[in-house]
């Protein structure tokens, strides 16, 4: 029976502690890395979701994490999410910085007692043998002011490089998480650069093919980096963005009033991204910035409350 056919059992962990020493050889392509991680987490009872179809700054904003972290129902999910950070764009000219990168996000609710072991086993699944490396859990507490969320945890260092975030969610949308979840975020480009030993993100082997079939990360994304950087920094119409922000805010409030948590949350995400664009354009002063953050947080809090007030999330 292939692992894909095995029925996922939430909460049940098949793998033992020493499993993170069982690794395979050979550098993985970018897409194989994703596929292997997804397969690993599917084996741990995660539902494998697809990216959310609205621009977000981090995988945490996907409703599968932000909303599902609330409430008592057990929940395990994993998915890749493009993270849009308009201000980080460098027109495709910086080997480490881009306005959009990929995160692999895992949410485990309730937080399992062996979360760290599971994480290390996932690294083994992509060929990182803990016996050869120096893997550390270094204090890094996470906070999202726009999402009204915080948690304690670590950044994970692989031979001195930060490759993941490991967080125990304490609060989302201003609401206490009960039970507490574990959130894992892999920085996929960084991890792939390490595994493949390349110096520039754009040189990453994307598909593992050779000859004319070979595709690099740069081939797929460099043009997008150039064009979006120009849009984000030079061309985004700030006056219109301000109007869009207000529209999204109004729409969000109206939907919360009707008890429609998910459509309301979409509008909250749009408002959040519009704020990021305005910020990247340098259109917001320091004091305005705080005010915008508080406005987005108020929306997020309202959506989270509406989500909890509605019918059970997993029906």
């Amino acid at each position: 029976m292939s692992p894909w056919a095995r029925p996922p059992a939430a909460g049940q962990i098949a793998r033992g502690r020493a499993d993170y020493f069982n690794t395979k050889g050979g550098a993985l392509s970018f897409q194989s890395l994703i596929l292997d991680l997804q397969r690993f987490w599917a084996d741990q009872g995660c539902v494998i979701l697809q990216p959310y179809d609205i621009e977000v700054g981090a995988g945490t904003f996907h409703p599968a994490t932000a909303l599902h972290a609330l409430g008592p129902e057990p929940w395990r999910a994993a998915y890749v999410q493009p993270s849009r950070r308009p201000a980080d764009g460098r027109y495709g000219e910086n080997p480490n910085r881009v306005q959009q990168h990929y995160q692999l996000q895992v949410i485990l609710k309730p937080a399992p007692a062996d979360g760290q072991d599971l994480y290390l086993a996932s690294l083994a699944a992509i060929g990182i043998d803990a016996r050869l490396h120096d893997i550390r859990f270094v204090e890094d507490d996470w906070e999202s002011p726009t999402l009204g969320a915080w948690g304690l945890g670590w950044e994970v260092w692989l031979d001195g490089m930060e490759v993941s975030q490991f967080t125990y969610f304490q609060q989302v949308g201003g609401i206490e998480c009960d039970p507490v979840s574990t959130e894992l975020t892999y920085g996929l480009e960084r991890l792939a650069m390490y595994v493949q030993g390349v110096e520039s993100m754009f040189d990453l082997d994307y598909n593992g093919a050779s000859g004319p079939a070979r595709v690099t990360y740069g081939q797929v994304f460099k043009r997008a980096e150039r064009e979006f950087s120009a849009y984000n920094f030079e061309l985004a119409d700030t006056a219109r963005l301000v109007v869009h922000f207000a529209d999204a805010e109004t729409e969000c409030r109206a939907l919360v009033d009707r008890g429609l948590a998910l459509p309301a949350y979409d509008q909250c995400l749009k408002a959040s991204h519009l704020f990021n664009l305005l910020d990247a354009r340098g259109a917001i002063s320091v004091t305005e910035r705080t005010a915008y953050i508080l406005r987005v947080r108020a929306l997020a809090n309202a959506c989270c409350a509406a989500w909890l007030a509605g019918p059970s999330s997993v029906e």
Partner: protein
């Protein structure tokens, strides 16, 4: 006598919290054992990134017995009252009570012997209490337990004399097992005693003792550099931090690409230290060597090759960033970056960093003139550029390089050396052990920056209180004090503060002048500073109290304290102090008795004895000395010597002259003479404050 072993195994504890956590836990357990009357003969704590361990030895097996005595109702009281008392005392019949006569009649007494409980029974609750009370700077909830902890608890090992003590911790397992190093010995370990525990962990690649880890790292670092004929840039704080990140330290060395060695040394060190926690190496000539050392937490099967290669790659990426910033930042002159400071908030009520720059520029220029600098324009220029590097990419990435980068960029732009150095120096001194700027331009800008902050924050009510000092104003005040004292600057701070306050445009800031309050604050910091230098607090009080208003010339104040200190080290000085006290005591007593003061002029015609005359002559000779020689010419030493010469006439006076005679006129005149001693000496310092 029994042994307690407690280990709390958890997921990784932040390095910065470890020391305080183990001190706290050990202290709580110690106090609770004492309170429960089962104190340990010795107690010791150990901390690693994953465990807090306490070993307590020599705990008594049981608590001592106690006898409790309770008075009951009167003998012959209603039966219901007697029954109630017997029930509450746990007795069956009144015959088990004693009846005793008291002043108020005969009463029942219940004498209940409470046998001490075995330590084994008392300990679980006591340990749980200590765990629950241990404070963390930040703590969290997690599903396995109701106990908030810094990170989830994995398991608890709790043995009392080799037997497991049960602790109810929900789903956190409690028993006699622990785990070794996460990668080198991940299996479960079964433990029978504290000695066994330490030994098993040693085998399982856990160096339990933090000091041993520090020592192992120190040794590893030294071996690594000795092999290559290099020396280490000493960094005790980093060593300490790194010891909190590993259970089994392995020192490894990596190479830095030669291309990067042209970066300023501070950039190299900071890029390595801040994010990566690497140690820097120096070559024989003291310049940075292209090597770095770091501490891994794993004894890798390939001897560390993969780990070193990985760390070298990470450092390369970091240094490539730094090199990019270094090139980028120098493309435009530092001067053009000042404008961008308008977007950088200094404080909501005190404007932008640009606003602060304008104020520092004005104040530094004023100071340069007060201090008679030859080219005050240099000072103005340095103040204008002082904060400009905050807008550079390098300082954006490495905030700890503020000032240092400004200096490099200013030199690149061809600014005067004194200007460039002042940009780097104006944040200093950063602490009591940091060197104080001594170049004139640096001094003026450093003072202006600190005084502007002090005046501004005091004016908007952001004063330090208790342990709260978010804007580091105590450090700023100490900086001002050291800059003034170490450079012997004659400044009237009251004027300087007023000048600084006038730079806050009233129409915009609407602040009141905080000068007097600030002066009092500075006086307090100065006292603390002097005490730390070992100056007696009573001498400080004596020198401070002399002047009606708070002294604002710190150099003069310090010179007076020093003169006073020397005066008292002389024989004549110390003796005169005794005479001074005797004189002022007599005057004070008589003044109180008579309800009047004896401070009027002395009448020479009433002198009967030559000792009176001699003392008066001496006092008259000295009378103008304090005002002119002391305060105007500041010849403190000379005045002190002259005052010391009072000793003999005063001693002779007390030997021969009776103050409290029957003749009121004589008595008053003699009291006035004594009062004159006090008056003369108090012009220099308040000698009544001096002890011993």
């Amino acid at each position: 006598m029994s042994e307690l072993l407690l280990e709390l195994l958890s997921e990784e504890i932040p390095a910065r919290m470890q020391s305080r956590a183990i001190e706290g836990l050990t202290g709580l357990l110690h106090d609770k054992l004492v309170a429960a009357q089962i104190p340990a003969e010795s107690i010791r704590g150990y901390v690693t990134p994953r465990r807090l361990t306490v070993v307590a030895e020599g705990i008594p097996a049981t608590q001592p017995d106690r006898t409790e005595e309770r008075r009951g109702p009167r003998v012959g009281a209603p039966q219901s009252a007697i029954d109630g008392f017997l029930r509450s005392a746990g007795l069956a019949a009144a015959t088990e009570c004693e009846s005793r006569d008291t002043e108020r009649g005969e009463f029942y007494f219940a004498v209940v012997k409470r046998p001490g409980r075995p330590a084994r029974e008392v300990l679980p609750e006591l340990i749980l209490g200590a765990i629950a009370e241990l404070p963390w700077p930040k703590s969290m909830r997690y599903p396995a337990s109701d106990l908030r902890w810094v990170r989830p608890l994995t398991s608890v090992l709790c043995l009392f004399d080799g037997e497991v003590l049960p602790l109810p911790l929900r789903r956190v397992p409690v028993g006699r097992t622990t785990r070794g190093h996460r990668f080198l010995a991940p299996g479960e370990i079964c433990v029978t005693s504290a000695a066994d525990y330490v030994e098993r962990l040693r085998e399982a690649h856990v160096v339990l003792d933090r000091d041993c880890r520090i020592e192992a790292i120190r040794q590893g670092l030294e071996e690594a550099i000795a092999a290559e004929g290099l020396s280490l840039k000493p960094d005790a704080a980093l060593l300490d931090e790194v010891a909190g990140l590993v259970e089994f330290p392995v020192v490894l060395a990596g190479a830095i690409d030669a291309d990067f060695m042209t970066l300023p040394p501070e950039v190299l060190t900071t890029a390595m230290r801040a994010h990566q926690k690497y140690f820097s190496c120096l070559g024989r000539d003291g310049t940075p060597a292209p090597r770095f050392l770091f501490v891994a937490n794993n004894l890798a099967s390939d001897g560390g090759k993969t780990i070193i290669a990985g760390n070298e790659r990470v450092l390369k990426a970091r240094l490539a960033d730094a090199r990019f910033f270094w090139a980028q930042d120098r493309r435009v002159p530092l001067e053009t970056r000042v404008e961008a400071l308008k977007d950088r908030m200094f404080h909501a009520k005190l404007g932008s960093v640009y606003d602060k720059t304008e104020r520092i520029k004005a104040l530094a220029y004023d100071l340069a003139q007060m201090l008679r600098q030859q080219i005050p324009e240099f000072t103005r220029r340095a103040a204008y550029l002082a904060k400009a590097d905050l807008s550079t990419a390098m300082v954006g990435e490495f905030p700890e390089l503020q000032g240092i980068m400004g200096r490099y960029y200013a030199l690149h732009d061809g600014e005067d050396n004194s200007v460039a150095n002042a940009i780097a120096d104006h944040y200093r001194p950063l602490g009591p052990s940091d060197a104080c700027p001594s170049a004139p331009v640096s001094i003026a800008v450093a003072l202006a920056d600190k005084i502007d902050s002090l005046v501004g924050f005091f004016a908007v009510g952001e004063k330090p209180s208790g342990s709260r000092d978010p804007f580091a104003l105590r450090r700023a005040a100490l900086g001002v004090i050291r800059l003034i004292l170490e450079n012997g600057l004659r400044l009237q701070l009251r004027n300087v503060f007023r000048q600084a306050a006038s730079n806050f445009d009233p129409a915009r800031y609407g602040l009141s002048d905080p000068s007097e309050e600030l002066l009092a604050f500075l006086a307090d910091r100065f006292k603390v500073h002097l005490r730390e230098q070992g100056v007696r607090h009573d001498l400080i009080a004596a020198a401070f109290a002399q002047v009606g208003k708070v002294e604002d010339d710190l150099v003069r104040l310090w010179a007076r304290v020093a003169a006073l200190q020397r005066f008292l080290s002389w024989d004549d000085g110390a003796n005169l102090l005794i005479a001074y006290r005797r004189a002022s005591n007599i005057v004070a007593i008589e003044e109180r008795k008579d309800g009047r003061a004896y401070d009027g002029p002395v009448n020479r015609a009433l002198f009967r004895l030559s000792e009176e005359k001699m003392l008066n002559n001496r006092l008259e000779e000295l009378s103008h000395l304090p005002q002119t020689t002391f305060w105007e010419r500041e010849e403190f030493e000379r005045v002190m010597t002259a005052l010391a010469s009072l000793r003999h006439p005063v001693d002779a006076f007390f030997d021969k002259v009776t103050v409290n005679t029957d003749e009121p006129k004589l008595r008053e005149n003699r009291l006035r003479l004594l009062s004159g001693i006090r008056k003369t000496m108090n012009q220099v310092a308040d000698f009544s404050q001096i002890e011993g």
